[in-house]
Protein backbone atom coordinates (compact mmCIF):
# COMPACT_ATOMS: atom_id res chain seq x y z
CA UNK A 1 0.00 0.00 0.00
CA UNK A 2 2.80 2.42 0.82
CA UNK A 3 4.34 1.83 -2.62
CA UNK A 4 1.01 2.68 -4.23
CA UNK A 5 0.77 5.86 -2.18
CA UNK A 6 4.25 6.94 -3.25
CA UNK A 7 3.35 6.16 -6.86
CA UNK A 8 0.15 8.21 -6.57
CA UNK A 9 2.02 11.16 -5.10
CA UNK A 10 4.54 11.06 -7.95
CA UNK A 11 1.74 10.89 -10.51
CA UNK A 12 -0.10 13.80 -8.89
CA UNK A 13 3.06 15.92 -9.03
CA UNK A 14 3.75 15.01 -12.65
CA UNK A 15 0.19 15.20 -13.94
CA UNK A 16 -0.64 18.47 -12.21
CA UNK A 17 2.74 20.13 -12.87
CA UNK A 18 3.40 20.79 -9.19
CA UNK A 19 6.87 22.07 -9.91
CA UNK A 20 7.76 23.13 -6.37
CA UNK A 21 6.49 20.01 -4.59
CA UNK A 22 8.30 16.72 -3.94
CA UNK A 23 6.89 13.29 -3.02
CA UNK A 24 8.44 13.56 0.44
CA UNK A 25 6.57 16.79 1.09
CA UNK A 26 3.13 15.22 0.62
CA UNK A 27 1.90 13.46 3.76
CA UNK A 28 -0.65 10.68 3.30
CA UNK A 29 -3.31 12.70 5.12
CA UNK A 30 -2.50 16.13 3.65
CA UNK A 31 -5.66 17.69 2.17
CA UNK A 32 -5.34 17.74 -1.63
CA UNK A 33 -7.60 20.77 -1.96
CA UNK A 34 -7.87 23.96 0.07
CA UNK A 35 -5.05 24.48 2.55
CA UNK A 36 -3.07 21.36 1.59
CA UNK A 37 -1.72 21.11 -1.94
CA UNK A 38 -4.06 23.90 -3.01
CA UNK A 39 -5.43 22.06 -6.02
CA UNK A 40 -8.29 23.62 -8.01
CA UNK A 41 -11.31 22.35 -9.94
CA UNK A 42 -9.32 21.70 -13.14
CA UNK A 43 -6.86 19.66 -11.08
CA UNK A 44 -9.80 17.61 -9.77
CA UNK A 45 -10.87 16.82 -13.34
CA UNK A 46 -7.28 15.95 -14.23
CA UNK A 47 -7.12 13.51 -11.29
CA UNK A 48 -10.34 11.85 -12.44
CA UNK A 49 -8.86 11.35 -15.93
CA UNK A 50 -5.59 10.05 -14.44
CA UNK A 51 -7.40 7.44 -12.29
CA UNK A 52 -9.39 6.26 -15.32
CA UNK A 53 -6.40 6.20 -17.70
CA UNK A 54 -3.78 4.66 -15.38
CA UNK A 55 -5.88 2.51 -13.04
CA UNK A 56 -9.20 1.96 -14.85
CA UNK A 57 -11.03 3.55 -11.91
CA UNK A 58 -14.14 5.56 -12.71
CA UNK A 59 -15.94 7.82 -10.30
CA UNK A 60 -19.49 6.43 -10.34
CA UNK A 61 -21.00 8.86 -7.85
CA UNK A 62 -19.82 12.48 -8.23
CA UNK A 63 -21.27 13.28 -4.80
CA UNK A 64 -18.56 11.09 -3.26
CA UNK A 65 -15.82 13.06 -5.02
CA UNK A 66 -15.06 15.37 -2.12
CA UNK A 67 -14.50 12.43 0.24
CA UNK A 68 -12.58 10.32 -2.27
CA UNK A 69 -10.18 13.14 -3.11
CA UNK A 70 -9.74 14.33 0.47
CA UNK A 71 -6.14 13.05 0.64
CA UNK A 72 -3.83 10.44 -0.91
Amino acid sequence: MSELKEELKAKIIEQLNLEDVSVAEIADDDPLFGDGLGLDSIDALELIVMLDKDYGIRLSDPKEGRKIFESV
Binding site: L16, N17, L18, E19, D20, I42, L45, E46, V49, K53
Partner: protein, 205 residues
Protein backbone atom coordinates in the same frame (compact mmCIF):
# COMPACT_ATOMS: atom_id res chain seq x y z
CA UNK B 1 -7.22 68.04 -30.99
CA UNK B 2 -6.67 64.38 -30.17
CA UNK B 3 -4.34 63.66 -27.28
CA UNK B 4 -1.09 61.91 -28.20
CA UNK B 5 0.34 59.00 -26.21
CA UNK B 6 3.79 57.51 -25.66
CA UNK B 7 5.41 54.10 -25.44
CA UNK B 8 6.98 53.90 -21.99
CA UNK B 9 8.57 50.42 -22.16
CA UNK B 10 8.73 47.30 -24.30
CA UNK B 11 9.85 43.68 -24.09
CA UNK B 12 10.93 40.92 -26.46
CA UNK B 13 11.17 37.15 -26.06
CA UNK B 14 12.70 35.52 -29.10
CA UNK B 15 15.63 33.29 -30.07
CA UNK B 16 16.33 32.13 -26.49
CA UNK B 17 16.60 35.74 -25.30
CA UNK B 18 14.47 38.02 -23.11
CA UNK B 19 15.00 41.76 -23.29
CA UNK B 20 13.39 44.89 -21.86
CA UNK B 21 13.79 48.24 -23.63
CA UNK B 22 16.42 46.61 -25.84
CA UNK B 23 18.56 45.45 -22.91
CA UNK B 24 19.07 41.70 -22.59
CA UNK B 25 17.74 40.35 -19.27
CA UNK B 26 18.18 36.65 -19.88
CA UNK B 27 19.58 34.36 -22.51
CA UNK B 28 19.89 30.58 -22.67
CA UNK B 29 21.33 28.00 -25.07
CA UNK B 30 18.31 25.69 -24.98
CA UNK B 31 16.41 25.42 -28.25
CA UNK B 32 13.56 23.64 -26.48
CA UNK B 33 10.96 26.25 -25.48
CA UNK B 34 9.82 24.45 -22.33
CA UNK B 35 13.39 24.25 -21.02
CA UNK B 36 14.13 27.85 -21.99
CA UNK B 37 11.02 29.38 -20.43
CA UNK B 38 11.43 27.37 -17.21
CA UNK B 39 15.02 28.60 -16.85
CA UNK B 40 13.85 32.16 -17.56
CA UNK B 41 11.07 31.89 -14.97
CA UNK B 42 13.59 30.86 -12.32
CA UNK B 43 16.24 33.40 -13.33
CA UNK B 44 13.71 36.24 -13.26
CA UNK B 45 12.57 35.17 -9.78
CA UNK B 46 8.96 35.16 -10.95
CA UNK B 47 7.57 33.30 -7.92
CA UNK B 48 4.17 32.30 -9.32
CA UNK B 49 3.74 28.52 -9.14
CA UNK B 50 0.59 28.57 -11.32
CA UNK B 51 2.99 29.41 -14.17
CA UNK B 52 3.85 25.71 -14.52
CA UNK B 53 0.21 24.81 -15.17
CA UNK B 54 -0.04 27.20 -18.12
CA UNK B 55 0.27 26.21 -21.77
CA UNK B 56 3.25 27.46 -23.79
CA UNK B 57 1.43 30.46 -25.31
CA UNK B 58 0.40 31.64 -21.85
CA UNK B 59 3.90 31.11 -20.46
CA UNK B 60 5.32 33.20 -23.30
CA UNK B 61 2.76 36.00 -22.92
CA UNK B 62 2.89 35.89 -19.13
CA UNK B 63 6.68 36.36 -18.88
CA UNK B 64 6.77 39.02 -21.62
CA UNK B 65 4.11 40.98 -19.70
CA UNK B 66 5.56 40.26 -16.28
CA UNK B 67 8.98 41.79 -17.01
CA UNK B 68 7.18 45.04 -17.95
CA UNK B 69 4.41 45.13 -15.37
CA UNK B 70 6.65 44.43 -12.40
CA UNK B 71 8.42 47.71 -13.22
CA UNK B 72 5.11 49.53 -12.78
CA UNK B 73 3.88 50.81 -9.45
CA UNK B 74 0.79 48.60 -9.50
CA UNK B 75 -2.06 48.71 -7.02
CA UNK B 76 -2.42 45.52 -4.96
CA UNK B 77 -6.20 45.44 -5.40
CA UNK B 78 -7.03 46.66 -8.88
CA UNK B 79 -5.36 48.12 -11.97
CA UNK B 80 -6.76 49.58 -15.16
CA UNK B 81 -4.26 48.44 -17.79
CA UNK B 82 -5.94 47.11 -20.93
CA UNK B 83 -4.43 44.20 -22.87
CA UNK B 84 -4.51 44.08 -26.68
CA UNK B 85 -2.59 41.07 -27.91
CA UNK B 86 -2.37 39.40 -31.28
CA UNK B 87 -0.73 36.56 -33.16
CA UNK B 88 -0.94 34.39 -36.25
CA UNK B 89 -1.18 30.85 -34.89
CA UNK B 90 -3.95 31.47 -32.34
CA UNK B 91 -3.77 28.59 -29.81
CA UNK B 92 -2.73 26.05 -32.46
CA UNK B 93 0.23 24.81 -30.41
CA UNK B 94 -2.11 23.71 -27.61
CA UNK B 95 -4.92 22.70 -29.98
CA UNK B 96 -2.56 20.09 -31.46
CA UNK B 97 -1.75 18.73 -28.00
CA UNK B 98 -5.45 18.42 -27.26
CA UNK B 99 -6.07 16.77 -30.64
CA UNK B 100 -3.41 14.16 -29.85
CA UNK B 101 -5.39 13.09 -26.76
CA UNK B 102 -8.68 12.56 -28.61
CA UNK B 103 -7.70 11.24 -32.06
CA UNK B 104 -7.55 7.59 -30.99
CA UNK B 105 -10.85 6.11 -29.80
CA UNK B 106 -9.06 3.40 -27.81
CA UNK B 107 -6.95 5.98 -25.96
CA UNK B 108 -9.52 8.74 -25.60
CA UNK B 109 -8.34 10.65 -22.53
CA UNK B 110 -8.63 14.39 -23.16
CA UNK B 111 -6.79 16.40 -20.54
CA UNK B 112 -8.96 19.11 -18.92
CA UNK B 113 -5.80 21.06 -18.05
CA UNK B 114 -4.81 21.16 -21.74
CA UNK B 115 -8.32 21.76 -23.05
CA UNK B 116 -8.84 24.94 -21.02
CA UNK B 117 -5.99 26.58 -22.96
CA UNK B 118 -7.43 25.89 -26.42
CA UNK B 119 -8.27 29.58 -26.86
CA UNK B 120 -5.58 32.25 -27.34
CA UNK B 121 -7.17 34.82 -25.05
CA UNK B 122 -6.73 32.60 -21.98
CA UNK B 123 -3.22 34.06 -21.67
CA UNK B 124 -4.81 37.48 -21.09
CA UNK B 125 -6.70 36.04 -18.15
CA UNK B 126 -3.51 34.65 -16.66
CA UNK B 127 -1.83 38.06 -16.83
CA UNK B 128 -4.93 39.80 -15.48
CA UNK B 129 -5.17 37.44 -12.50
CA UNK B 130 -1.50 37.90 -11.54
CA UNK B 131 -1.51 41.69 -11.84
CA UNK B 132 -5.12 42.37 -10.79
CA UNK B 133 -6.07 43.91 -14.10
CA UNK B 134 -9.81 44.62 -14.10
CA UNK B 135 -9.76 46.08 -17.57
CA UNK B 136 -10.57 45.57 -21.23
CA UNK B 137 -8.73 42.83 -23.06
CA UNK B 138 -8.79 41.51 -26.61
CA UNK B 139 -6.83 38.97 -28.59
CA UNK B 140 -6.72 39.29 -32.40
CA UNK B 141 -5.54 36.83 -35.03
CA UNK B 142 -3.71 38.44 -37.96
CA UNK B 143 -1.65 37.11 -40.87
CA UNK B 144 1.21 39.36 -39.75
CA UNK B 145 2.18 41.80 -37.04
CA UNK B 146 -0.38 44.61 -37.40
CA UNK B 147 0.80 47.86 -35.73
CA UNK B 148 -1.92 49.94 -37.39
CA UNK B 149 -4.71 48.04 -35.68
CA UNK B 150 -2.96 47.91 -32.30
CA UNK B 151 -2.25 51.65 -32.37
CA UNK B 152 -5.80 52.54 -33.34
CA UNK B 153 -7.34 50.38 -30.63
CA UNK B 154 -4.92 51.55 -27.92
CA UNK B 155 -5.53 55.22 -28.76
CA UNK B 156 -9.27 54.66 -28.67
CA UNK B 157 -9.13 53.10 -25.18
CA UNK B 158 -6.87 55.83 -23.83
CA UNK B 159 -8.73 58.78 -25.41
CA UNK B 160 -12.07 57.51 -24.15
CA UNK B 161 -10.42 57.05 -20.72
CA UNK B 162 -11.57 53.45 -20.55
CA UNK B 163 -8.00 52.54 -19.67
CA UNK B 164 -5.12 54.32 -17.95
CA UNK B 165 -2.52 52.35 -19.87
CA UNK B 166 -2.59 49.73 -22.62
CA UNK B 167 -0.23 46.79 -22.99
CA UNK B 168 -0.15 45.81 -26.66
CA UNK B 169 1.70 43.42 -28.87
CA UNK B 170 2.32 40.09 -30.50
CA UNK B 171 2.75 36.66 -28.86
CA UNK B 172 3.07 33.73 -31.22
CA UNK B 173 4.29 30.17 -30.75
CA UNK B 174 4.38 26.91 -32.68
CA UNK B 175 6.42 24.26 -30.89
CA UNK B 176 9.92 25.71 -30.51
CA UNK B 177 9.44 28.73 -32.76
CA UNK B 178 8.25 31.60 -30.63
CA UNK B 179 8.14 35.36 -30.61
CA UNK B 180 6.79 37.88 -28.11
CA UNK B 181 6.89 41.65 -28.45
CA UNK B 182 4.89 43.74 -25.98
CA UNK B 183 4.87 47.48 -25.38
CA UNK B 184 3.15 49.70 -22.84
CA UNK B 185 1.28 52.80 -24.04
CA UNK B 186 0.38 55.64 -21.68
CA UNK B 187 0.51 59.43 -21.25
CA UNK B 188 4.18 59.48 -20.27
CA UNK B 189 7.16 58.00 -22.07
CA UNK B 190 10.10 58.68 -24.33
CA UNK B 191 8.93 57.01 -27.54
CA UNK B 192 6.20 58.31 -29.83
CA UNK B 193 3.22 56.01 -30.16
CA UNK B 194 2.98 55.76 -33.94
CA UNK B 195 3.24 52.84 -36.38
CA UNK B 196 6.77 53.73 -37.50
CA UNK B 197 8.08 53.56 -33.95
CA UNK B 198 6.10 50.41 -33.15
CA UNK B 199 7.61 48.69 -36.19
CA UNK B 200 11.10 49.94 -35.27
CA UNK B 201 10.78 48.51 -31.76
CA UNK B 202 9.29 45.26 -33.07
CA UNK B 203 12.38 44.72 -35.22
CA UNK B 204 14.95 45.54 -32.54
CA UNK B 205 15.51 41.93 -31.44
Amino acid sequence: MNKEFKISSYSHIKNQTISVNGNVLFTDDSEDFTTFIKAAYKFLDTGYSKFFKMDNLSKLAFLAADVLLKQEDLNEDENNIALIFSNKASSLDTDRKHQATIENDAEYFPSPAVFVYTLPNICLGEISIKHKLYSENSFFIFDRFNPEHLQLYANSLLRSEKSEKVLCGWVDIEENIYEAFLYLVESNGEIEHNTEEIIRLYKIL
